[in-house]
């Protein structure tokens, strides 16, 4: 393997390499006490916390004159900071200094150096409200771009020594800290080992975000469907962990990925568990219906207008014909035109600052739509269908899934224009076959429906009551199955009896 960086074998070489950059600073500290000794403190001023640094220097200056200060070990004992490492390995020193450690060295003791952690967290977002996955009920705690903070958040909620965090370094240039979390009593060790092996065998330069990692370790890259849940919500990550899934996060990313996940995980919102199970189930069903509707609605319009105008009742057909009588295009062009407009609106809205985004919504949604109908470019029935299906595509709690759904709409519209309803059915069948071939960490993607696991159906399309969903899903092959023991069901009493 050719590496772009040449190996730095000695500390002097490393320091010389660092000094080429103007933000690398070395200061001399002399103590004329028992014997004249000069210590050197080297650091990147852009990486270290200045308050801590001045605190160190101040406390070193206040050392009593009688103390012996000739060796690094003795000096380090006076530094009021935890986690100081004494090392002579160039590699450790290199990665430490580049992360914001202060290097203490002197010219006499070449083989012993101290690394003092002074990592600065400036420039990171501190507000951790959820930005993408909102919920009305329940906590709004999200993650930020700092891995330590994120892990702290998780550990505060999972108050158990069973929560294991493993750290792996990925990226030849970024040396990103990737943390792998699992609950020892829940997760299957094979899954942990599998995901760890995949991360360790990665060869990549800079990891920007966990979502990148997601694609790099996924089983199959030729699919529009996300194979791992990506989430910024703490409750979601913790819930995955207690079900027996494994979570991965990398430094610099507010997202966790959890896996192995299945298709129906993407329709689960943490809110389902904060509302009564009847309502939770209802909203989950609404979401799934929304996704199916959003995938098929425009295609059905195309199919019906092009081929099957006899399957809708006369009264409705009259309306349709009336609304489309002056539209000069075939239904396919009309539908594509509107669908692409909606995609433009979505893409532009996502890239613009939120205030301009609102204006864009009004301009795009209302004015454009109205004008398109008045100019007879589209029928207003189609406007309704397309905007409804755009709306419905956003009901999935995970944004990546709604991307997949919106992408899949286009091929189905084309198939509908060629073979009508049969085309739609063929498109759906291809998706079904594709889904049943997909694997997430080696686990089937459409579980618990295919392969059918009847025991796990109670928390898939519906969310059963807490007394029923006390066990972990069996398809994850968890280490222990029972999460908690529910209260025993009440004895069925007859009416008006104690």
């Amino acid at each position: 393997m050719q590496s772009s960086q040449h190996e730095l074998t000695t500390i002097d070489e490393f320091l010389a390499a660092c000094r080429q950059s103007s933000d690398f600073i070395t200061i001399d500290l002399s103590f004329m006490l028992t014997a004249p000794t000069t210590f050197k403190l080297s650091y990147y001023k852009t990486l270290v916390d200045k308050a801590k640094l001045s605190h160190i220097i101040k406390s070193l200056q206040e050392v009593e004159p009688s103390a012996s200060l000739t060796r690094i070990e003795e000096l380090v004992a006076h530094i009021p900071i935890d986690g100081i490492q004494l090392t002579d390995e160039v590699e450790t020193i290199q990665s430490g200094v580049l992360k914001g450690f202060l290097l203490v060295h002197n010219d006499k003791e070449l083989h012993l150096n101290a690394l003092v952690p002074l990592i600065s967290k400036n420039g990171l977002r501190t507000s951790n409200e959820t930005e993408e996955e909102f919920s009305v009920v329940g906590p709004k705690v999200g993650f930020v771009e700092d891995v330590d903070y994120n892990l702290q958040l998780v550990r505060l909620q999972l108050n158990s020594p069973d929560l294991i965090i493993k750290e792996i370094t990925v990226g030849t240039l970024s040396k990103t800290r990737v943390s792998l979390l699992y609950l020892k009593e829940a997760a299957n060790q094979e899954n942990v080992a599998k995901i760890e092996k995949r991360i360790k065998s990665l060869n990549f330069d800079v990891i920007f975000d966990t979502t990148q990692l997601d694609q790099l370790i996924a089983d199959n890259s030729f699919t529009p469907f996300p194979l791992f849940i990506t989430t910024e919500r703490r409750d979601r990550v913790v819930y995955s962990l207690i079900l027996g899934q494994v979570a991965v996060v990398c430094d610099g990313s507010p997202y966790f990925i959890t896996g192995p996940s299945n298709l129906f995980d993407f329709f689960v919102s943490p809110e389902d568990y904060y509302t009564p199970w009847l309502l939770g189930s209802f909203f989950r069903a609404i979401r799934i219906f929304g996704v199916v509707f959003s995938m098929l609605a425009s295609a059905m319009y195309v199919a019906i207008i092009t081929f099957h105008y006899d399957i809708i009742p006369k009264e409705l057909l009259g309306r349709l014909v009336y609304s489309r009588q002056s539209v000069p295009f075939p239904p396919l062009v009309e539908a594509l035109f509107l669908e692409i407009t909606v995609e433009f609106l979505r893409e532009a809205g996502a890239r613009l600052p939120s205030r301009i985004g609102q204006t864009l919504g009004i301009v795009g949604g209302i004015i454009l739509g109205q004008a398109a109908v008045e100019a007879s470019l589209t029928s207003n029935v189609l406007i309704i269908i397309v905007s409804l299906s755009a709306l419905a595509s956003f009901v999935t709690p995970i944004y990546k899934m709604s991307n997949a759904i919106r992408f899949l709409r286009f091929p189905i519209i084309f198939l509908a224009a060629i073979w009508g309803s049969l085309g739609i059915a063929l498109g759906v069948t291809i998706i079904i076959i594709h889904l049943s071939q997909l694997r997430s960490l080696g686990y089937p993607y459409t579980v618990p429906f295919f392969p059918l696991r009847t025991k796990d159906l109670k928390d898939s399309l519906v969310r059963s009551s807490y007394s029923k969903i006390n066990s972990r899903p069996s398809f994850l092959k968890p280490a222990t199955t029972i999460r908690y023991v529910p209260k025993k069901a009440k004895v069925k009493r007859d009416f008006d009896e104690e």
Binding site: F307, H308, D310, I311, I312, P313, L316, W419, G420, S421, L422, I424, A425, L426, V428, T429, I430, I432, I433, H434, L435, S436, Q437, P444, T446, F449, F450, P451, L452, T454
Partner: protein
């Protein structure tokens, strides 16, 4: 490839329900009432029961045959090789493989015929046919698990759709059509039952798919469930056709199930038969894929041909057959040929295997 298949490619026993269901319910569901009513008239439903019972017996025989084998050799190709010797066994295997391919073709061609008559009367059907074959190739390339997944969705989708429709039709039936019961001589009912067994000509897929089932002891139950569910579905559909249409109509109508559904209309939808044909496509894809998968898998076990290669060859065979069966008569000819071979499989081949395995058992005891 010896031994029971690894967990990576096998399915749990419950999935045998879907595999068996798909292999027992084929494209004939749309038209079988027409065929069986010719001889048994309004007593045709009795022949459905008789045929289903016979299939249950066949399934019992097949499990008996499978249980007589060593566990790692319990599949069709090995059974043939063992019972008929190397040469004859290979010949039987090749015939059965061809039979499976033709079976897939028959399901495929009948479905295209339905599309041609009911959905696109004015356009050719070969482009959609080729597209269906491409999807089948994709499904089979995922292996048995992928085919089973298709079977599962094919089964579920049709049930979710068909049951509410049947309930809606229930108000319009003329129940006295079914009277008088047992009005036909036994011979006519027997002919009708034989006609009915043509729907079940793919049941030997059980012998091929069996090694892919985990915990094989639990599998039996699900196979019988499949027979029961199919039997009930066929019984319901035949009863409905008998009490909905008159005798004369039934002999005229080629696809009674579709005609039955075409009378339904809902506030938002008319022509329910279009929707039924649309949803039925998942099922048809499952049948074709299952048949071709079984053929490719057996081919690999018989001649060590790669499944990818043999699948391409079989698809070629189907395309050629499609080219030569341009009109309905030619398609009907292939179907009839297939059905008569199917009779040999159902009434001669599987009972013969059963008899041999009984005999083998005896011989083992004598030794």
């Amino acid at each position: 490839m010896n031994g029971v298949v690894s967990d990576k490619f096998s399915v749990s026993p419950m999935h045998l329900l879907f595999v068996m269901y798909v292999s027992l319910v084929s494209s004939g569901t749309m038209s079988f009432q027409h065929d069986i009513a010719f001889s048994a008239g309004h007593d045709a439903w009795i022949s459905v029961i008789i045929a289903t019972l016979y299939i249950a017996l066949l399934v019992w025989m097949m499990f008996f045959i499978l249980n007589r084998q060593k566990q790692e050799q319990a599949y069709l190709v090995s059974i043939n090789n063992r019972y008929f010797g190397k040469t004859l066994g290979t010949a039987v295997n090749l015939i059965l493989i061809l039979y499976l391919v033709i079976g897939s073709f028959v399901a495929f061609r009948n479905y295209l015929q339905i599309i041609h008559v009911w959905v696109f009367p004015h356009s050719t059907t070969w482009p959609i046919g080729l597209f269906i074959l491409l999807i089948v190739y994709y499904a089979i390339s995922g292996g048995f698990q992928s085919v089973t997944g298709l079977c599962l969705w094919g089964t579920i989708s049709i049930f979710i759709f068909i049951i509410p429709q049947l309930i809606t039709v229930a108000t319009r039936l003329h129940l006295d059509n079914i009277l008088p019961v047992f009005n036909h001589p036994i011979a006519e009912i027997a002919t009708s039952s034989k006609q009915m067994t043509h729907e079940f000509t793919r049941c030997e897929i059980l012998l091929i798919a069996y090694p892919f089932i985990r915990e094989q002891k639990k599998a039996k139950r699900w196979a019988y469930w499949a027979v029961l569910v199919c039997g009930l579905l066929y019984l319901l559909l035949s009863m409905y056709a008998i009490v909905y249409f008159s005798q004369g109509q039934l002999e005229q109508i080629s696809w009674p199930t579709l005609s039955l559904f075409s009378t339904l209309d809902y506030p938002l939808m008319q022509r329910m038969e279009t929707l039924l044909i649309t949803i039925w496509i998942v099922k048809i894809l499952a049948i074709i894929s299952l048949g071709l998968w079984a053929a490719c898998h057996s081919m690999k076990l018989t001649t060590k041909t790669k499944q990818r290669t043999s699948l391409k060859i079989f698809m070629g065979v189907i395309v050629i057959l499609l080219y030569f069966t341009k009109n309905e008569e030619q398609a009907q000819m292939v179907t009839n040929l297939y059905s008569s071979v199917g009779e040999y499989v159902l009434f001669l081949y599987i009972p013969l295997l059963f008899a041999i395995s009984l005999f083998m058992k005896k011989r083992l005891k004598e030794e």
